[in-house]
């Protein structure tokens, strides 16, 4: 009880802080600081219609690389923590899903996959991008795992996709150092025609890699937990 009271006090203290923030907050009516620059210069400078994408992939590209890294190490961490002891390698056999689910899977799986790929390829033009697309791809994989609990997706394949797409991402970043202004500069390739699929330099390429990487990573994470 005493503990609960203490927790309440702690919560009230932090609530005071939150209250100070909320009561002094007013909705913004205009852009300021760096965002103003992005809106005014971003499209011209990087050639991507989706400003969020410009910020994510290029202006704050290092953040995104870091974010990919966090996902990567949490997958690696999960596999390290959940590694199985060598001798207790028995496989759980779970009841198969119903036929409806199985049939839906065979219809929907390619469509969901395709949708995911669409999202990450068009990330520089429309809402969406590598992460969103990757998440959709992973949801297809999750669907597969739920529908066919006794089949597994090739570990090796996922790992290869994961590794190589990550590595290529870094290589593309380094190309920026050699061929353009700096690490992760997208202007290694021409910016192309504004608003078209092949535009915005490296951004679509990077988003494809991110999409593949996120998809395979989330997939292997889910697989880990399923095991």
């Amino acid at each position: 009880m005493l503990k609960r009271l203490f927790m309440l006090i702690a919560l009230v203290l932090i609530a005071i802080l939150f209250f100070d923030v909320a009561s002094n907050f007013t909705e913004r009516s205009e852009l300021s600081g760096i965002s103003q620059y992005y809106v005014e210069q971003g499209a011209e400078e990087l050639g991507a219609a989706n400003l969020v994408t410009s910020v994510v992939v290029t202006y704050r590209g290092l953040d995104t690389l870091g974010e990919v890294t966090v996902l990567f190490i949490s997958a690696a961490g999960a596999s390290l923590l959940l590694r199985r002891r060598r001798n207790t390698n028995k496989k759980l056999v779970v009841e198969e899903s119903s036929e409806i689910v199985q049939t839906t899977l065979s219809i929907m799986f390619p469509i969901i996959m395709l949708f995911g790929v669409y999202i990450f390829i068009n990330g520089h033009l429309t809402p969406g991008g590598g992460f969103q697309g990757g998440a959709v791809v992973a949801s297809a994989l999750l669907f597969f795992m739920l529908a066919r609990p006794n089949d597994s997706i090739s570990h090796k394949l996922l790992m290869k996709i994961e590794s190589l797409s990550g590595f290529t991402y870094v290589v593309l970043g380094v190309l920026g150092v050699i061929l353009a202004g700096g690490f992760l500069d997208n202007r290694v390739l021409g910016l192309g025609e504004f608003g078209s699929l092949f535009s915005a330099g490296l951004i679509p390429l990077i988003y494809i890699l991110v999409g593949l990487k996120v998809g395979s990573e989330l997939g292997s994470l889910l697989q880990k937990f399923r095991e």
Partner: protein, 121 residues
């Protein structure tokens, strides 16, 4: 005293703070590790909502150049970009937490945080 004027961003912001508080409360009160992880997710979501609210600009639209948005005010693209990053990171952290939960359950055959108090003083 004060009054919240009720533009969209304020509502989202206050909701975000309430989510954080309820997430924290869940982390403090529930003994079950899985519930604590859910508490964390709540808190994280609250933070993300606040981020979006902070970037909102009255009457703004998505920061994507398109024929439809020509000349309209755009919302701040930076918080949108950052929240994307933050969500993915939150996901990664949740994955690690869940791995912990699995491992703790294996090691102790219990999911109660009270069984994780071997060390003290």
């Amino acid at each position: 005293m004060f009054e919240f004027n009720l533009p969209l961003a304020n509502i989202v912001l206050v909701t975000g703070f309430l989510l954080i508080l309820s997430g924290l409360w869940a982390m403090f009160i529930h003994k079950n590790i899985i519930r604590m992880i859910i508490g964390f997710s709540l808190m994280d979501t609250g933070i993300h909502m606040i981020m979006v609210a902070l970037g909102y600009i009255t009457g703004g639209t998505a920061p994507i150049f398109d024929d439809a948005v020509d000349g309209m005010q755009m919302v701040d693209p930076v918080p949108s970009a950052l929240v994307l990053t933050a969500i993915v990171i939150g996901l990664g952290v949740t994955a690690v937490m869940l791995s912990y939960a699995v491992k703790i359950h294996q090691a102790k055959n219990s999911l109660s945080i009270d069984d994780c108090a071997e060390q003290k003083w």
